[in-house]
């Protein structure tokens, strides 16, 4: 037997027959069952726990989002600071009186640094040479 075909055969008139409606009214009249207040309290506690867990998850997410943006900001600031310090090593000119001896000294040093970097020679070796010479001179004095 085709079950679906059989299902379609049930029409409204059959469902509304007296015998069918008798059972329907019987079911309708069955007593209601009430839940206790303790059941409701228990449910409220569970719902609150879920709500708290949800809020906690949200705040943790927010914390991590804030933390990551903060570290990004610190990193950017650190990089900016590093770059400004690096520039100040190369170009302290703005802080020094441009007419004085110090200015001339720094300018000369910068020019030599540029020249060395163009030629590819290590600046560290060049910078240490005069100190060695000075030490040699001191040895002679001693």
């Amino acid at each position: 037997m085709n079950l679906f075909k059989k299902e379609e055969l049930i029409d409204e008139s059959k469902l509304n027959s007296a015998s069918q409606m008798r059972v329907a009214s019987l079911i309708k009249s069955m007593p209601e069952e009430d839940l206790s207040l303790s059941w409701r309290s228990e449910l409220n506690v569970k719902l609150m726990e879920i709500q708290n867990a949800k809020s906690k998850r949200k705040s943790t997410k927010r914390f991590f989002a804030f933390g990551s943006s903060l570290s990004a900001a610190v990193a950017v600031a650190g990089y900016a600071l590093f770059m400004s310090n690096a520039n100040s090593i190369v170009a302290p000119v703005g802080k020094i009186d441009s007419s004085g001896f110090a200015f001339e000294l720094v300018r000369t040093h910068q020019e030599s640094l540029v020249a060395l970097s163009v030629s590819g020679t290590s600046s560290a070796a060049r910078e240490s040479a005069p100190a060695d010479e000075l030490m040699d001179g001191q040895d002679e004095l001693l």
């Binding site: 037997m1 079950l3 679906f4 059989k6 299902e7 379609e8 055969l9 049930i10 029409d11 409204e12 059959k14 469902l15 509304n16 027959s17 007296a18 015998s19 069918q20 409606m21 008798r22 059972v23 329907a24 009214s25 019987l26 079911i27 309708k28 009249s29 069955m30 007593p31 209601e32 069952e33 009430d34 839940l35 059941w39 409701r40 228990e42 449910l43 569970k46 719902l47 879920i50 709500q51």
Partner: protein, 202 residues
């Protein structure tokens, strides 16, 4: 059918419209959710109580229904029927529970016996629901008969005759065609009538 009108007729019953039924539902509002529990807790429990063997199971499942609803309340579409939504969750949880207890949903035979087909449809004054339900023996027999019914028949019977749900709402809640709802309802009522018939007639 006009959704803006307060009531509509489906078969022999009068239903609330979705807009009226959902008037108090504001997705995401705790107050609104609390009101929804107040309105539906006993109805959902009444349904679940007759779908699972013990009252304790029924209480647990009813709580689970509202917990599941709460978890997805933010995403709830207020245009949909709250009742259909809640009873759908309840039915699915009852099915899950039945599967876990290795009972599973029983197969329903949709064969209709010739006796039923040929039954003469006459009013019977002995069928007085209120009077019958006062009798403890009758109540016991009725509860037993409902309990012995397959979940498929029982769910349709309870949703339609106890919860006043329309065929369409039941079809949505149980994910079955309307034709199946009607045939299951017919068979469930017939089965129940046969189970208590002798008590009524004697």
């Amino acid at each position: 059918m006009n959704a803006n009108v307060g009531t509509w007729k489906i078969g022999t019953r009068t239903m609330q419209t979705r807009s009226e039924e959902n008037e108090f539902i504001k997705p995401g509002s705790a107050e609104s959710f609390s009101k929804m529990i107040d309105t539906y807790q006993n109805r959902v429990f009444g349904f679940v109580r007759r779908m699972v063997p013990t009252g304790e199971d029924a209480e647990d499942i009813t709580q689970e229904v509202f917990i599941r609803a709460f978890q997805s309340f933010d995403r709830y579409d207020a245009r949909a029927s709250v009742r259909t939504w809640l009873f759908r969750i309840a039915y699915n949880l009852c099915v899950d529970r039945a599967r876990k207890s290795n009972r599973g949903l029983q197969q329903v035979s949709l064969q209709i016996s010739p006796d039923i087909e040929e039954e003469i449809d006459v009013p019977d004054t002995r069928w007085q629901p209120d009077a019958l339900l006062e009798d403890a023996e009758f109540r016991g027999r009725l509860d037993k008969a409902i309990g012995l019914m397959s979940e498929k028949l029982r769910s349709v019977l309870l949703l339609h005759d106890k919860e006043d749900m329309s065929y369409e709402e039941i079809a949505i809640s149980l994910s079955i065609p309307i034709g199946t709802v009607k045939s299951r309802l017919f068979l469930a009522r017939t089965q129940l009538q046969n189970a208590v018939k002798d008590l009524v007639e004697n």
